[in-house]
Symmetry: C2
Subunit: 333 residues, 2 copies
């Protein structure tokens, strides 16, 4: 097997996504594609929800982490991995490390919720807490010092290929229910999920257009696509969509996405909250705000469903329950 680290800086292809699916089989689940006949009637089209909030550890991040870690060489496996995250990526890394039996260090901001830190530790990972502005540096430092493989949440060959298995499953499942998909809408931050899905669907469903939905105020993909180069964001913005409010546009996903994404959209906090409520009442799903933005884009009509078949990826569930309560309090759309 090639030294995994040497591949990490390349863009994956469709074949790498198929390989990822075989590699991570049994580590997560094939999440269902759900449909509400009632909502379809209301919206005048066919909406299918790819429910990655049901994924093991609570988000699609499991797929990329699993693919990266199953590709570790024997030497790398012996040295273990390191990641930076306060949320879904950290949970996925810690869990996958426990599953394959290697060691993991997760660097988290000192503002991370105690419940998430406890859970990452519970899976057996070592947690290092530092101020937010130094977590990247600390993770790089630990990688150097301890010889650990750094696993980026998005900017990694194996991670993008792993997230692409969501797109493969969408293509398979749409075929099984006889749906021809017009559009796939995907929550978007670093671009790993959007990139992987665009790559998978380009091959499997060439007529399908893939859109990324960002948190309003955190439109680094929109800005980068407009500029034709990666544009990071200055600190200081606010969004309840913590899972997609990073500041950095990742390099590999951007290369994958730039000629494959049909466009980007953005969802406000209010729109994400409404989508969380609809996910609960119409689909029986518990969703986090950042995981609900693709559904929000459809519900608000920013992406029209009229006469069309659209798949919205719901990407995660790890949300503070006070925020979930706020979402459920809202009036019907």
């Amino acid at each position: 097997m090639a030294e995994a680290a040497s591949l990490s800086r390349f863009s994956p292809t469709y074949a790498d996504i198929e390989a990822a699916r075989r590699r991570i089989a049994g580590m997560g689940i094939a999440t269902p594609l759900l449909e509400s006949p009632w909502l379809n009637r209301e919206l005048g089209g066919r909406l299918l929800i790819k429910a990655e909030n049901l994924q093991v550890t609570g988000s699609f991040k499991l797929r990329g982490a699993a693919n990266r870690m199953k590709a570790l060489t024997k030497d790398e496996y012996g040295r273990g991995v390191v990641a930076r995250s306060s949320g879904n990526h950290g949970l996925a890394i810690a869990y996958c490390a426990s599953l394959i039996g290697t060691s993991a260090v997760v660097v988290v901001p000192d503002t991370a919720p105690a419940a998430k830190v406890e859970r990452i530790k519970g899976y057996g990972a070592t947690v290092v807490q530092v101020p937010m502005q130094t977590i990247a540096e600390m993770a790089a430092d630990i990688a150097d010092r301890e010889g650990r493989v750094f696993v980026d949440p998005a900017d990694d060959f194996w991670v993008v290929a792993g997230q692409g298995t969501v797109g493969l499953e969408i293509a398979d499942q749409a075929e099984a229910v006889g749906a021809t998909i017009d559009d796939v809408v995907v929550p978007c931050s670093g671009g790993g999920l959007a990139g992987g899905c665009a790559l998978a669907l380009e091959q499997r469903s060439p007529g399908t257009r893939v859109y990324g939905v960002e948190a309003a105020g955190f439109e680094k993909m929109a800005n980068s696509l407009a500029a034709g180069r990666r544009i990071n964001l200055p600190p200081g913005g606010r969004s309840i969509c913590d899972a997609i409010s990073g500041l950095y546009m990742a390099e590999i996903p951007f290369e994958v996405v730039r000629n494959r994404l049909a466009g980007t959209l953005a969802a406000t906090d209010e729109e994400a909250l409404t989508a969380m409520r609809v996910a609960f009442s119409e689909f029986g799903l518990g969703v986090e705000p950042g995981g609900a933005v693709a559904l929000a884009a459809v519900l608000t009509g920013k992406l029209s469903l009229s006469g069309r078949t659209v798949v919205a990826v719901v990407s995660g569930r790890n949300v503070d329950l006070d925020l979930a309560r706020r979402a459920l309090q809202r009036q019907a759309a």
Copy 2:
């Protein structure tokens, strides 16, 4: 084909459940079997959730309704069906009628939530609202007068066979993840779901024990099993678990269940609320209180998970959002 009505009063067999699966294919979905490694660690066993809250129309009731209605003879199809329900059964009947193109009347209590009435109407069914104590009589009346086939929510050959497809899927899915199931825990009221699952698993997984979980104060199955005959409840009890707080012990399910159920358990309102919260945070599921009682039985230790593999059926999602908010407010267990 046999006149469907003539079969309605018989108990189904395992073969009838397999036939039901073929008959209703494509009308609902094979819901996933979900697992939380974290919760497994906390509880010291393996808990699998059969997520029927993700079913089309929001509950397992779709299966029985679909099986009954697909078995209508040509004459019956022409005359249509009638049902009584304020909730999940009514939604399932209305939706299935719209799917197969027959007409449905749903008799609901005049206290039924406007949102549910609107939705039943939205699927094209005629809604008749009468005082709660007369809904059974009114439904029988309409069946007589209009020649419609009355579809009981539980006391029906086809309905029990349809609900049994939940048990078939559990057996298949457990095999697929290499699990040998010790116990299956099922929310229980009229006994259609418990009966169907017990029948399916007796054949497919003979070592598995099936338990029914009732709403505390509505233990008609426990009382009936103890007495060796069907015992109905007097009116006047209260429970937030509206989906399982009926007063009547159905005849066919009781015949199916009496020598097949390992036992019954009961869950209080508080326990159901806690289970709703855990379903959201650990599994990403939006669940109604009556749908959460089997999970509640495991979380409270009424059914021990220690060193065992247990499947808990989560049976529905149709809940008032104020009640869902109350559930999410609760402290972590």
